[in-house]
Symmetry: C2
Subunit: 752 residues, 2 copies
C-alpha cells in the first residue's frame, strides 16, 4: 500500500467520523443576521418550519418581522414571517410582563441586552427591570419572565394586537375581532381574528391558550384599553380585548407562561401544549428545539477554518427553514388529510433556490410542501403564488408553482399525486383567473395564448371603467418571460408522463419569450432587449432599458437589463440572439461591470450561471465569489437585500457549496466551491461528499471535476447523478482551466 492510498484511507475514515456525528451547528447561527439593513429577518424563536414564531413587536408595529433594533417593545407575539416586504402580516397574541399598574395602551418598554440563538430570544425590559426569555416548540411559545424581586408582578395578554395597521395600498392588516376569557387563576384563552396584510388576504383566526406556572392573585379583562377588574370575560364585539394576571407573591422571581396557539380552536391550542411540552422546564423545551435545528443543519456539514463564513452559511441555512410554516392539522378551511403548509411568501422568490435546496436535503419535507400546494389547488381551484394566513394572494409574475411541481417530478420526490399536480399546472396555463389575476393563475393568459406574449396595452391600463378597480394585466413583461419558463416546466413533466402532444405544445410556448425580443434597442454596446409590444405587434416607443420594475409596470422588481437574461429554459437561443458566445459573454461582462446586476432581485438569481452556458465557468465562479464577498457577512446587516422568506439565503447556501439549480429542471450548474469538504445527507442516509482539492484564497478556479471517480466533462450535472450519494471532487487551482468543460448545459434546442 503506497502512501497515497494510506493517506486517502485516513481521509476517508476521518470523513466518515466527521460526517456521522451530529455536530452542534446552532452555534454558527446568528438570528440577528439580516435584522439590520434590508434583510427583514425574524430574530425570535422558532423550530424549523414552526407554526409559532415568537418574538418582540416593536415601535410603530410596522416592521415585517415585528423586530426593530432598539425600538420600544410592546410585548412578544407568537406569529411572524421572516424576510418579507409590503404591509406586515401577523403579530398575533401578544404577551407582556410588567410591574405596577396595568395600562394596556402604554405598556411598552425600552429594550436592553438583546440575545438570540436558534429557539432562544432574550431581552431586558428596562422600564420594568424584567428579563424576558423566550423559547418555543412547534405550536407553543414558552415565556420565562424574571422579575425584580420586590416588584408587583403583572402579565398582560393582548389578544387583539397585530402588525401593520395603517399600511398604505390596501396592505394594512385590520382587526375583525378578538375574545379573551379568564378560565382559572392559571389559564387565559381566546382568539384574534384579523384580515389583510401584504397578500390582501381574507380573515384568519389565531386561537390561544395561555397557561401560567404560578396562580394569579388578582385578574381582570380589558377592551379597547378599558380595564374591568375581576372580569373573566371580554367577548367579541369587534374590538381589541385582553386580560391580565397579578401575582402578589413576592418570593417567586420567575413566572413561566406557555402559550399554545392554533388556527382551529382553543381546544386544539390546549392540546398542542399538552402534546408538545411537559411541565415547566424552560431549558428542556429549549434543548428539544435546539436538537431539531441541529438535526436540520447537520444535513450539510462543511469544513472551513473561516468561522464567519460558517456563520454566513449556517445562518443562511437556518433562514431557509423558517418558512413556509407547517400547519398540518391546523387548516380551518378543509379536512383532506394532506400535509398543510402556509406562508408561501412568495413562491416567485423561493422556487429559484429555496425549494431546490429542500428537494436536495429534505426531500420528504419538500414533497409535503408540494402535496400541500396541490391540495390547495384541489380545494380552491389554483395553486398559490403567495399565500399567508390561510389565503392565497398575490401573484407576482408567472405561475411559478409550476416550477416547483416540475422539479419535484423530475427529481423523483415520493408520495405526490403528480397527475393532479399536472392538472393544476395545465389549469394555470389555460384557464384565465379573470378579476382574480392579482391572486391566482396567469393574468392575460388568453392574450398570451393568442399572441404569444402579454401585450403592452394591459400594462398601463386595463380598459376597466374609471373606477377604483385594480389595474389589470400589469407586469406584462415579467409575465410573458415567466409564462414561457413555466411552459417549459410543463413540457418537461408532459414528456416524462408520455403526453407527447402536450410536450410539443408547451415546448413551443416555452420560446414565447423571444416574441418580446426587440433587436432594435442598443445601449452600452449591447443590442437586443426584452421590450413591450402592443396587441397589434408594434414595439412601444416610450420605454427605457433602465426603467425600474414595480407592481404596475411592464417588469416587476427589475428592469429590462435584468429580465433580458431571464430565459433559464432557452439560454442557447438567447446566446444565438445575442450574437454567439463571445458577444453574449461581453454582454454579461457589461451587465456586471456597469452594476445592472442586483443579487437581491430574484429575476437575476440565475444570471451569473449564464457564463457557463457560453463556456466560461470561470466567470460564473468569479462573479459569484464577488457577489458573496460584497453582500453576505456575519454582521446584522449581512444579507444584501430582503431575504424574501429565505431566498437570498438559499442562493448563498448553494453557491458556497459550489453549485446552483436551474429551477424547474433537474439541473445544477457548477459555480464557486468555498469549502474544502462538504458532506450532505440526502434522503434515507445517503451521503454525498463534495471535496474541493487544493482550495485556497488563491486557488479559486476549478481545473477539473470528478464525479464518483470519473472525469466530468461539463460544468453541470443532473439530480439523478447525485441523488444516491457519492462523491463530487473539484480540483482547484490559481488559474482558469484550459482543458475542462466541454458540453454546455442543456437548453430547449437540446431536447427532441
Amino acid at each position: 500500500m503506497n502512501r497515497i492510498v494510506i493517506f486517502l484511507l485516513i481521509l476517508f475514515a476521518a470523513g466518515l467520523a466527521y460526517s456521522q456525528e451530529v455536530q452542534s451547528l446552532t452555534s454558527y447561527v446568528d438570528p440577528f443576521i439580516g435584522t439590520k439593513g434590508e434583510g427583514h429577518t425574524f430574530p425570535g424563536t422558532s423550530v424549523p418550519f414552526g407554526m409559532v414564531k415568537l418574538g418582540p413587536d416593536c415601535g410603530d408595529k410596522r416592521s415585517n418581522s415585528g423586530y426593530i433594533p432598539d425600538a420600544e417593545i410592546h410585548g412578544f407575539s407568537h406569529t411572524h414571517v421572516s424576510g418579507t416586504g409590503g404591509g406586515a402580516k401577523y403579530g398575533n397574541i401578544l404577551v407582556m410582563p410588567f410591574t405596577g399598574k396595568v395600562t394596556p395602551g402604554t405598556i411598552s418598554s425600552k429594550p436592553n441586552n438583546y440575545k438570540a440563538s436558534p429557539a432562544y430570544f432574550a431581552v431586558d425590559l428596562d422600564r420594568y427591570k424584567i428579563k424576558a426569555e423566550l423559547t418555543s416548540s412547534h405550536s407553543v411559545g414558552f415565556h420565562k419572565y424574571t422579575f425584580n424581586e420586590n416588584s408587583d408582578k403583572g402579565i398582560l395578554i393582548d389578544s387583539g394586537s397585530f402588525l401593520g395597521a395603517g399600511h398604505c395600498c390596501g396592505e394594512a392588516q385590520e382587526l375583525i375581532g378578538s375574545e379573551t376569557r379568564v378560565v382559572s387563576d392559571t389559564r387565559i384563552e381566546g382568539y384574534s381574528r384579523v384580515r389583510g396584510g401584504w397578500n390582501k388576504g381574507g380573515e384568519y383566526t389565531v386561537f390561544f391558550v395561555a397557561l401560567f406556572d404560578t396562580p394569579a392573585d388578582t385578574y381582570g379583562t380589558w377592551k379597547n384599553d378599558e380595564i374591568e377588574t375581576g372580569s373573566k370575560m371580554a367577548h367579541d364585539s369587534g374590538d381589541k380585548t385582553g386580560a391580565y394576571f397579578f401575582f402578589n407573591n413576592k418570593t417567586d422571581k420567575i413566572i413561566n407562561v406557555k402559550v399554545g396557539i392554533s388556527f382551529i380552536s382553543t381546544g386544539k391550542a390546549y392540546e398542542n401544549i399538552t402534546k408538545e411540552t411537559k411541565g415547566w422546564d424552560f431549558e428542556e423545551v429549549h434543548q428539544t428545539a435546539v436538537n431539531k435545528w441541529n438535526d436540520a443543519l447537520n444535513t450539510i456539514k462543511i469544513e472551513s477554518a473561516n468561522d464567519d463564513l460558517k456563520k454566513v452559511f449556517y445562518t443562511a441555512m437556518y433562514h431557509t427553514m423558517l418558512m413556509p410554516a407547517n400547519r398540518t392539522g391546523e387548516n380551518p378551511k378543509w379536512n383532506s388529510g394532506e400535509p398543510h403548509y402556509d406562508d408561501f411568501y412568495a413562491i416567485w422568490d423561493t422556487y429559484r433556490a429555496t425549494n431546490p435546496l429542500l428537494a436536495l436535503i429534505q426531500p420528504k419535507r419538500e414533497a409535503d410542501i408540494v402535496r400541500s400546494l396541490i391540495d390547495i389547488y384541489n380545494y380552491e381551484g389554483y395553486m398559490p403564488d403567495s399565500r399567508s394566513g390561510n389565503h392565497t394572494g398575490r401573484t407576482q409574475g408567472g405561475s411559478n408553482c409550476d416550477m416547483v411541481i416540475a422539479e419535484a417530478y423530475l427529481k423523483g420526490l415520493k408520495g405526490i399525486d403528480f397527475e393532479k399536480g399536472y392538472e393544476a399546472m395545465i389549469k394555470n396555463a389555460e384557464i384565465p383567473p379573470g378579476d382574480n389575476q392579482q391572486k391566482e393563475g396567469r393574468g392575460g393568459i388568453n392574450e398570451y395564448i393568442e399572441l404569444g406574449y402579454v401585450p403592452a396595452e394591459y400594462e398601463p391600463d386595463s380598459g376597466a371603467p374609471d373606477l377604483h378597480i385594480p389595474k389589470l394585466y400589469a407586469r406584462a413583461g415579467t409575465r410573458t418571460l415567466e409564462y414561457a419558463a413555466n411552459d417549459w416546466a410543463i413540457a418537461l413533466v408532459a414528456q416524462g408522463m408520455g403526453k407527447s402532444e402536450d410536450y410539443l405544445k408547451y415546448k413551443k410556448r416555452a420560446s414565447n419569450w423571444s416574441n418580446l425580443w426587440n433587436t432594435n434597442i442598443e445601449t452600452e454596446g449591447v443590442s437586443g432587449f426584452i421590450w413591450p409590444k402592443t396587441k397589434k405587434g408594434q414595439w412601444v416607443e416610450d420605454y427605457s432599458v433602465n426603467k425600474g420594475g414595480s407592481w404596475s409596470n411592464f417588469f416587476y422588481e427589475a428592469n429590462s437589463w435584468e429580465y433580458s437574461f431571464y430565459v433559464p429554459q432557452d439560454v442557447q437561443s438567447l446566446i444565438d440572439r445575442c450574437g454567439g458566445n463571445d458577444s453574449f459573454i461581453s454582454r454579461l461582462d457589461t451587465f456586471f461591470k456597469n452594476q445592472h446586476f442586483n443579487v437581491n432581485n430574484e429575476p437575476s438569481f440565475f444570471t451569473p450561471c449564464l457564463y457557463t452556458y457560453a463556456g466560461r465557468q470561470d466567470k460564473t465562479n468569479v462573479t459569484i465569489r464577488n457577489i458573496i464577498k460584497g453582500g453576505y457577512t456575519a454582521e446584522q446587516n449581512g444579507i444584501p437585500g430582503n431575504d424574501d422568506a429565505g431566498s437570498m439565503s438559499a442562493w448563498v447556501v448553494f453557491n458556497l457549496l459550489g453549485f446552483f439549480p436551474n429551477a424547474g429542471q433537474d439541473i445544477y450548474i457548477i459555480t464557486s466551491p468555498h469549502f474544502k469538504q462538504v458532506s450532505i445527507d440526502l434522503d434515507k442516509g445517503k451521503r454525498w461528499e463534495i471535496i474541493a482539492h487544493d482550495l485556497s484564497g488563491e486557488n479559486i478556479y476549478i481545473n477539473n471535476v470528478m464525479l464518483n471517480g470519473k472525469p466530468l466533462n461539463r460544468a453541470w450535472f443532473r439530480h439523478n447523478e447525485i441523488k444516491e450519494g457519492g462523491k463530487l471532487e473539484f480540483f482547484m487551482s490559481g488559474k482558469p482551466s484550459n482543458s475542462w468543460e466541454i458540453k454546455p448545459p442543456p437548453s430547449i434546442v437540446d431536447y427532441e
Copy 2:
C-alpha cells in the same frame, strides 16, 4: 249629505279602525304549507329574517329544510334554509332529548303529532315518550322537552351534525371539525365547522352556547360515537364531537334548554342569549317572536271571507321573510359597521318579486339588504348572485344584483351608497370573473361585449383541457338575455345619476337579446325564438325549442319557449319582432294553452304580464287567476314548485293584491285583485289603500281604475305614484273592459 257619501264615510272610518289595530295574522300562517311536494319550505321556528331557524333534521339528512314528513327525527338543529334545491346547507348544532342509554349514532325517534305555527314547532318523539316544543329569538333556539315522569332523562348535543352529506356533484356539505366542552352542570358550548353545500361554499363556523335550566347530575362527551363518561372536553381533531347531560331528578318533567348561536364566537353566542332572552319562560320567548311576525304581517291587511285564501296569502308573506338571514354583527370576515345579510339563495330567484315586495313594505330592511350586497362587493370584489354560509356562489345567469340595486335607486330607498353600488354594477358589466364565473360577475362578458351575445361554443365545452375543470360559459342563452336586462338596470341608474354616456352605452347593450332572435324557427304556429349562435354568427342547427334547461345547457331551468319571452326591459321590441300585438297575443295564448308555461320556473314570472303590453290586461288577469287556482292552496303541498327562498310566495303575494313588479325598474303591472280591501303600511306610517269595488267570483275583470280619485288610463303605475300612500281603486265587473287601458307600459323605445 246623500246616502252614498254617508256610506263612503262609514267605510272610510271602518277602514281606518281596521287598519290601525295590529291583527293577529299569524293564525293565517301554516308553516307546513310547501313542506310536501316540491316547495321545500322550512316548517321550524324562526323570527323574520332570523339567524336561528330551529327545526328537525330527519331521515337521510338530505332534505334541504331538514324536515321530511313522517321520517325519523335525529334531533333539532339551529340553522336551515327554506325553499332551496341541490345539495343541502346547514343543519348545525343538533340537540336531541332521549331516555335510557346515550347512543349518539342511533338516537333517532319516530315522530308523531307535528304542530307548527310562526315561532313554534312541536312534535312527540314516540321512542322516548318526550314532547318536544321549540321556539326562538333571533339568535337563540329555546327547547322545551317534556319527559315521561318515570324515565331517565338525557339530552344530547351533536356539535358536528349537518345536512347533505354525500350529495353528488360537489354539492355535499363536509365536516371540517367540531369541538364540544362541558363548562358546568348547566352549560355546554362549542362549535361546528363545515364547508360545501349547494353553493359549493368555503368553510363556515357555527359557535354555540347551550344553557340548561336544570343542573345535570352526570355528563360526558363523545367523539365519532365513542362515549367518554365524565369527560368535559372533546377537542377538534377533525371529527364529530358532542356532549350529553343526564338528569336523575325524577320530579321535574320538563327540561328547558336555550341554545345561542353565533358565527363569531362562543362569547358572542352567550351574549346573544343574554341580550335576547331573560329567564326560562318559553311562552314569553314565543310571544315575543309571534309579535315580531304580527308586526311584519300587519304591513298588509286584507279583507277576505275566504280563510284558505288568507292562509295562502299570509303564509306566502311569511315565507318571503325567512331569508336572507340578518347576520348583522355576525360577519367573521370583516368589520365594516354595515348591515350584513347572508343566505341569498339565489338573487336570480328573489330579484323578480321578493326584493320588490320588501322594497314596498319594508324599505328600511330592503335598504339594509342592498347595503350588505354593496358591502360584500367592497370586501370581496363582486356582489353575490348566491351566497350562503359566508361564501358567495353560484351564479345562475346574469348579475341580477344589478336589478336589486337599480330598483332600490329608482324607488328612492334611503341610506345606500349608490355611487358604490353603481361601481359594483359596472364591475359586473365590464370585468370578467375568469375561472370564478360559476361564482361571481358575468361569465363570457368579454364575448358578450365583443359579439353582443354569449356564443354557443361556450355552452357544450369550454375549450378547457381534458381535465375535471368545471365547464365554462354554460347557460349562454340565459346569460345573454339576463345581461341585456341587467344592462338596462344599469342604464336607468346611469340616467338618474346624469351619466349620459353610460346611459346610452348600456341602453344600447340592453337590446342585445335580439342578437339571439332566430326568425327561422317556427313551431306550433309561432315563429322566432331565442337560439344559440356560434362565435362566427351562425345559428346552431342541432337545437330544439323544447330542450330543457340545466346548469350546463344553453338555458338554465327553462327552455326557449319560456326564455323567448324574457325581455322585461324591451317588450315593445319583442312584440314588434313577433309581428305586432295580435300575433304576440296569439303566441302567448299558445304558450299558456300548450303548457309551456311553468310558474315554478322563475324566468316566466313576468310572462303573464306581457299580455298587458299588447293591450290585453284582461288576459293577464285571467291567466294569473288560473295559475293561482291551479297551483297555490292552503294544503301542505300548496306551493306549485320549489319556493326558492320565498320567490314563489312573493309572486303570489303580489298577484293576489292585484299588481306585479317589473323587477329592476320602478314599474308595477296591474294584474288580478283578489281582495275587496287591502291596506298596506308603507314607510313611516304612510298607508296605501287598495279597493276592488264589486269584486266577486264572477266579477273578476277590471273595468276601470282610479288612483287617488283620478282615472288611471293605463294598466300600470310607477312606485313614485304610490310611495306616499293614497288609494288605488279597481272597479270590477263580469266582463273585460272596453274603455279602460290606453297606454302600454314603457319599454326601452319609450326612453329618450
